[in-house]
């Protein structure tokens, strides 16, 4: 009996964990049904872990606050601690419960405990003497001690089996103390996997298998299209936690509170009351019967205290006295930085949009200027409320042919909302000139072009989005065969037309102007002169071009074509930081400590750039709105046109 005690401790802990897991699964099952291919998912899980998760962990967290807090350190720490722990568990059961393997296995167990100790040193280094602010405290702070206790206890318990000391009895004062230590460690580490910090291990595995977006794994371009509203739901969007699909509730529960999302979130950085990590934790807390954020030990939503939020699986999530304040929900720019950073593959933006859908469609609770914008969209088919026929006012002298008037065009130019804005009319004008320079005569839809629906969709107004999309699709399908591809200078149009219309029956080849311009330069159809001004130039990747569409090379190729060597910002490419426009946030206009574009302009300043090149009309407006002194802002098309004209 004496020898069995350590093994029994583990067995009992594992049984307790199993019971907890069943209870936890009941929480998830309260969610809506979801079509999940469980077998395929389980088979794919190890691959997803080894590639997608590993890649994400390996990236250095944004703005890490502490030396050594790197992606590599995190990966090593996990490999050693978790790998050692799993192996040790199996060996403890073998050695201590079934008395298998004799001295050899006992020594092997000691070796794995030693391996864990190596990982443990990294865990200490991560949490001692200070902790990066994005990390949570509480139970996480106890983990190093629990692991120490675990290693010490099982090492001593294994010494007799390894033949190093004589068997001893636990029934001494020292033995009982040691036993208590071991029991605590087992509860923290095994049972804790059902409720504590380590629950990410078990839930993470399940989440990887039953992920709501299986297409994201191993994909070459991001799986970023928002999904249509489920047709049969009791409510439009999500009001209560149980309105989420069950595997979304599971997904939230996989959060390890690493805070990588928090560190990347532009809203958080600007002091808007949003922290994606807490958002996910609040959703987890709200999925129980008496949820509150009292147990949350990470950074709060800026400007808001922790501890007063309450929710339950069948209670509204959003509300000033509920789990999540509406300001938090509307502060999100849907930039996907969090999604890109999250090592647990959680889809924050889907959650945000699901919650917004209920607010907008069922409650009409879209804040600030957003309802007016939605009204304009319904009444006029444009965000600014001007007639669609005015979209081309700026181009009267360019005499752009209407698609209706031409037999076929290589490029159907989708003007977008930028056509109503003087700043972006300059970009569009440059783009038209460039296309013509390259021998492409673009055509336009004219008054037939309605808003693409991006703003409506991100504000949760799926109905208006669908109405606009269906009418645009009908128009475009009516011209089937008359245009080779759609060209747009607006990455939001690229996203919506290219990736979100297919779900509604619109399949088009849509290309962003940066991609097309890079092609034209490389094909020798545009011959820019090399920029010899020697000015420092940086490039701001639009979220909807980079993280949404995976296009980070074309803009750089265009700049290279002009002879500009980009001085990169710390946050660039897929890890670019949002300008603050997306997701309708300029209309919901939740106040922060600063404005998001001001934060982004600081990143520009760090490079010493005199000019920041952009590739999105909205980025252009946001960054130009930053007060001087600041870098100049120019769209790729404007820069390229100047270079092409200089080349003549």
């Amino acid at each position: 009996m004496n020898a069995l005690i350590p093994g029994l401790l583990v067995l009992a802990s594992l049984l307790a964990l199993a019971a907890l897991a069943v209870a936890r699964a009941a929480r998830w099952r309260a969610g809506r049904a979801a079509a999940v291919d469980a077998v395929a998912g389980l088979l794919a899980m190890p691959g997803r872990y080894l590639h997608d998760v590993h890649d994400a962990v390996l990236r250095d967290p944004v703005g890490r606050a502490k030396a050594g807090d790197t992606g590599r350190a995190a990966a090593r720490m996990h490999m050693l601690t978790a790998g050692g722990f799993i192996a040790a568990t199996a060996l403890i059961l073998a050695v201590h419960l079934f008395a298998l393997g004799g001295v050899v296995l006992a020594w092997l167990l000691l070796a794995f405990l030693a391996l864990m100790s190596a990982g443990l040193l990294r865990l200490y280094a991560r949490r001692k003497p200070e902790v990066s602010p994005r990390l949570s405290r509480g139970g996480f702070d106890r983990l190093p001690y629990a692991f120490t206790a675990f290693i010490v206890f099982f090492a001593i318990a294994t010494l007799p089996a390894a033949g190093l000391i004589a068997p001893f009895s636990w029934a001494s004062l020292g033995g009982l103390a040691l036993l208590a230590l071991g029991a605590w460690a087992c509860i923290e580490l095994y049972v804790g996997m059902g409720y504590g910090p380590l629950k990410h291990a078990l839930n993470g595995v399940l989440h990887l298998a039953f992920h709501p977006r299986p297409a994201r794994f191993g994909a070459t371009t991001p799986d970023s299209a928002l999904q249509p509203l489920p047709a049969t739901a009791e409510r439009l969007g999500v009001e209560q936690p149980r309105d989420f699909a069950w595997n979304r509730l599971l997904a939230f529960d996989a959060c390890v509170q690493c805070g990588r999302c928090e560190a990347a979130c532009p809203a958080f950085a600007a002091g808007l009351p949003l922290n994606p990590k807490k958002l996910i934790q609040d959703l987890v807390a709200a999925s129980g019967t008496h949820g509150s954020d009292l147990g949350y030990s990470g950074s709060p939503y800026p400007q808001r205290p922790v501890g007063s939020a309450h929710g339950a699986i069948d209670k509204p999530i959003i509300g000033s006295g509920a789990m999540i304040h509406p300001d938090t929900l509307w502060a999100c720019t849907t930039c996907r930085a969090c999604v890109y950073e999250c090592p647990m593959m959680i889809e924050h933006v889907d959650a945000v949009v699901d919650l917004r859908r209920f607010q907008t469609l069922e409650l009409g609770a879209t804040p600030n200027k957003a309802p007016a914008v939605l009204e304009e969209l319904k009444a006029t088919d444009t965000v600014c409320g001007r007639p669609t026929s005015a979209r081309l006012d700026w181009a009267a002298d360019l005499r752009l042919p209407l698609l209706a008037e031409v037999e076929h065009t290589e490029a159907l130019l989708w003007i977008g909302e930028g056509g109503f804005d003087m700043r972006n009319q300059r970009t569009l004008r440059a783009l038209v000139k460039l296309l013509r320079e390259a021998g492409i005569e673009p055509a336009v839809l004219g008054a037939e072009e309605l808003d693409c629906g991006d703003v409506a969709r991100r504000l949760g107004d799926e109905k208006t989005f669908e109405a606009l999309a269906r009418r645009n699709i009908a128009t475009l399908n009516g011209y089937a065969g008359r245009f080779a591809r759609i060209v747009t200078a607006d990455p939001h149009v690229l996203q919506v037309l290219g990736r979100e219309y297919p779900a509604l029956g619109g399949y088009y080849s849509v290309v962003h102007h940066s991609t097309l311009l890079a092609e034209l330069i490389e094909a020798g159809r545009l011959k820019p002169a090399a920029d010899d001004s020697g000015r420092r130039v940086t490039f701001h990747d639009p979220c909807y071009l980079g993280r949404y569409n995976g296009e980070v090379s074309a803009p750089r190729r265009v700049l290279k074509g002009i002879g500009i060597k980009v001085v990169e910002m710390n946050r660039s490419g897929m890890r670019s930081s949002c300008c603050g426009w997306g997701g309708g946030s300029t209309f919901t206009d939740v106040p922060g400590k600063r404005r998001i574009p001001d934060v982004r302009m600081d990143h520009v300043r760090e490079t010493g750039a005199e000019l920041v090149a952009v590739a999105c009309p909205n980025c252009a407006v946001m960054l130009e709105g930053v007060v001087q002194p600041r870098a100049d802002v120019a769209d790729l098309a404007e820069l390229l046109l100047a270079a092409v004209e200089a080349g003549k």
Binding site: A390, D393, W394, A396, D397, L398, D421, M422, Q425, R426
Partner: protein
């Protein structure tokens, strides 16, 4: 909704799309060569098109017939087919930049001079004398009427063949058509006079003939005045009736409406309201007509600012906003507006340099933009110089400001020394006079530009030779201006402190006294506006000048404004008289005046004598540095006048050039022209 959405909305009239709502209304450019548009003319209008304007209306007061001579203001001659090919070139150039274009054609009737060209007998409905041009015309005969109607038709045909989008018929500013309209000039008793319909008949027949000859696919604009401001002329009610009469024929496509008649000096000044007027002084009249007609309406008169234009359009007063002098000042007005570079727009300040030159038959130039109408040789936009130089400019008046601006635009490192606490030079004092404050806009624009161009501006810094050398400049530009030249004639008593200068008064250095004599030698703005300044404070003022009349050098559209202001304050104007001597008697001054012709002297007992005698160049610093400059301070005139870069001069040290009044006193345009043509190639 953007603030300029409406301004930038295209207007489609028949087959013509005007890309935005900002246009330039017809003005006599005084650039035509033998009655046809040549290179200079074409470039001038093409530049506005390049600058984004919706439509440029050109050829102010172009003549349809040989008895309406237009060579005085070198306008276009539409009486002959030889204009067609040059017009086609102009159309191509303007259309090529996306703008529409129309010409104004007219017969001036009695509003003309007879003593030139063919020495024609001028015609007018009733042969009455015209006060401004001093012409008495013959009473027009029916045969003349028929001939001129035909000429209008043929002129329109030529315009159409020349590729224009349309023409404007002027029935404004008292030309032949509105000489028939107005009971003030039409005393006829035949079918062309008397009743409303009879007075309208000539205009109607012209319009019908023009339509017949030009066809329907050609825009026809009628320019008219909405109130002649003469008791015996057309009032607003009558103008509305006229507007309805013609628009209801369905024959015209556009109506251009202005306020005020133009056949007296006083009313003429209203037509091109100078800086003394409030903004858009006659908009209400145009608006009154807009309410009564169904076709698009144009108005231009004192609209200078994009925000003002946007408001006028948004409020629905007009359909097209004329910014005519505004485009002489800055042909890139629309592009700058569209690109949000509002502060870069060089706004017209209403100096009326342009129109006052036109009235003397001189080519139209802008006081503050030396590139306008010199597009072939002078840039509105700059390319960067190949070699970046260090340039020091001494003096922040117009010449120095323009030099600093141009050099900075070329990419050089520019330091500007100004000894006063603010830039502007003499313009600062000019702007202190009543109703002259807007001239300060010229300096305000420079200030914004220098800031944008990051010129190192050192105020309160009187540069000396050592400071200039310390900058190690490649080029030094002397623009030190001058000081009032009141000590030229010892009798004025400057040395004894018996007289002060206009600068002393306007700058506030010397308080005006109760009874003041202003002696004005230059007869430009300084004397008269200083008199106005003093009289405005309730003083008794007499202005004495040796010239034929007070403010003789002021232009025809500005002098009426100051005549009125001086008369209102009972300022006594004494021309033909020299200030012979000033001496003190007790606490009074005695000014001895001498008639230029009779030599008779008389005395005035006054409290203060102000002498305006222009300025004396400030040359000391120039002469101090002259010897050590590589070029001995010399500007090579042959290359300068040929708009070529100054010749290379090898050697050590800097090059030095002088610009503006520190060479010899001239005007603002002279100063900036000096600087632009010199510095554009640095």
């Amino acid at each position: 909704m953007g603030q300029f959405d409406k301004l930038l909305e295209p207007l489609r009239i028949k087959h013509v799309t005007i890309r935005n709502r900002i246009i330039s209304t017809p003005h006599a450019e005084v650039y035509a060569e033998d009655g046809v548009p040549g290179d200079r003319y074409i470039r001038y209008h093409a530049e506005k098109a390049r600058g984004g304007i919706g439509m440029t209306m050109f050829g102010g007061s172009s003549s349809v017939a040989t008895d309406s001579p237009a060579q005085w203001w070198k306008s276009l001659d539409f009486s002959n087919d030889k204009i067609i090919v040059p017009l086609q070139k102009l159309s191509d150039a303007v259309h090529g930049h996306g703008a529409a274009l129309m010409a104004q054609i007219t017969h001036m009737g009695r509003r003309n001079r007879w003593d030139g060209g063919n020495w024609p007998h001028l015609v007018s409905p009733s042969g009455l004398r015209e006060p401004v041009h001093h012409a008495t015309a013959k009473t027009i005969e029916l045969e003349d009427i028929q001939r001129i109607i035909k000429a209008f038709g043929q002129a329109a045909r030529r315009a159409k063949e020349g590729g224009l989008d349309g023409i404007e018929l002027s029935a404004d500013h008292q030309q032949l058509i509105d000489q028939f309209w107005s009971p003030r000039t039409n005393k006829r008793t035949d079918g062309y006079g008397g009743s409303f319909d009879n007075r309208m008949r000539f205009g109607l027949e012209v319009i019908e003939e023009v339509r017949r000859c030009a066809g329907d696919d050609f825009l026809l604009c009628l320019r008219m005045c909405a109130d002649e401001f003469h008791p015996d002329g057309i009032d607003h009610e009558e103008a509305i009736r006229i507007a309805r009469f013609y628009t209801e024929t369905g024959l015209i496509d556009l109506l251009s409406v202005t306020g005020s008649g133009a056949d007296t000096h006083a009313t003429l000044a209203n037509c091109m309201p100078n800086m003394a007027y409030p903004p858009e002084p006659f908009l209400h009249l145009a608006s009154g007509i807009k309410a009564e007609v169904k076709i698009p309406l144009i108005h231009a008169q004192g609209i200078r600012d994009p925000l003002q234009a946007a408001r006028i359009l948004d409020e629905g007063h007009v359909d097209l906003v004329g910014i005519t002098r505004g485009h002489i000042a800055d042909p890139h007005f629309v592009n700058k507006m569209r690109e949000g570079r509002l502060d870069e727009i060089k706004q017209c300040v209403g100096a009326n340099y342009c129109i006052d030159r036109q009235y003397q038959g001189l080519d139209v130039l802008c006081a503050q933009n030396a590139a306008t109408s010199r597009e072939a040789v002078m840039p509105h936009q700059f390319s960067k110089a190949e070699v970046k130089k260090r340039i020091v400019v001494v003096g922040g008046g117009p010449a120095g400001l323009e030099a600093a601006r141009v050099c900075a635009e070329r990419g050089h490192t520019v330091t500007l020394f100004e000894k006063e606490p603010e830039i502007g030079g003499q313009v600062r004092w000019a702007a202190k006079a009543p109703a002259r404050d807007q001239i300060g806009g010229i300096v305000r624009w420079f200030g914004l530009e220098l800031k944008r161009l990051k010129v190192d501006l050192r105020l309160n810094t009187a540069a000396d030779a050592a400071m200039i050398r310390a900058e190690q400049p490649d080029i030094v530009i002397m623009a030190t201006g001058g000081v009032p030249f009141i000590d030229q004639f010892p009798g004025w008593g400057a040395a004894e402190g018996l007289c002060v200068s206009t600068h002393d008064i306007l700058s506030g250095r010397v308080e005006p006294k109760a009874n003041v004599l202003v002696f004005d030698v230059t007869s430009l703005f300084a004397g008269a506006t200083t008199a106005d300044f003093i009289a405005n404070r309730g003083a008794l003022v007499e202005i004495v000048t040796p010239d034929l009349h007070v403010a003789e050098g002021m232009g025809g559209t500005t002098v009426p404004v100051y005549n009125k202001r001086l008369a209102e304050k009972d300022v006594i104007c004494t021309p033909n008289t020299f200030l012979h001597e000033v001496y003190r008697e007790g606490d009074k001054l005695i000014a001895v005046l001498e008639n230029e012709y009779t030599g008779r002297q008389e005395e005035r007992v006054v409290d203060q004598v102000v002498v305006e005698n222009g300025i004396r160049p400030a040359e000391a610093l120039y002469f101090e540095l002259k010897a050590e400059s590589r070029n001995h301070g010399q500007t090579d005139l042959d290359t300068l006048f040929a708009y070529q870069p100054q010749p290379e001069i090898s050697g050590e040290g800097f090059l030095m050039y002088r610009v503006g009044d520190c060479i010899s006193p001239r005007d603002i345009h002279g100063a900036i022209y000096d600087s632009l043509r010199l510095c554009k190639d640095f």
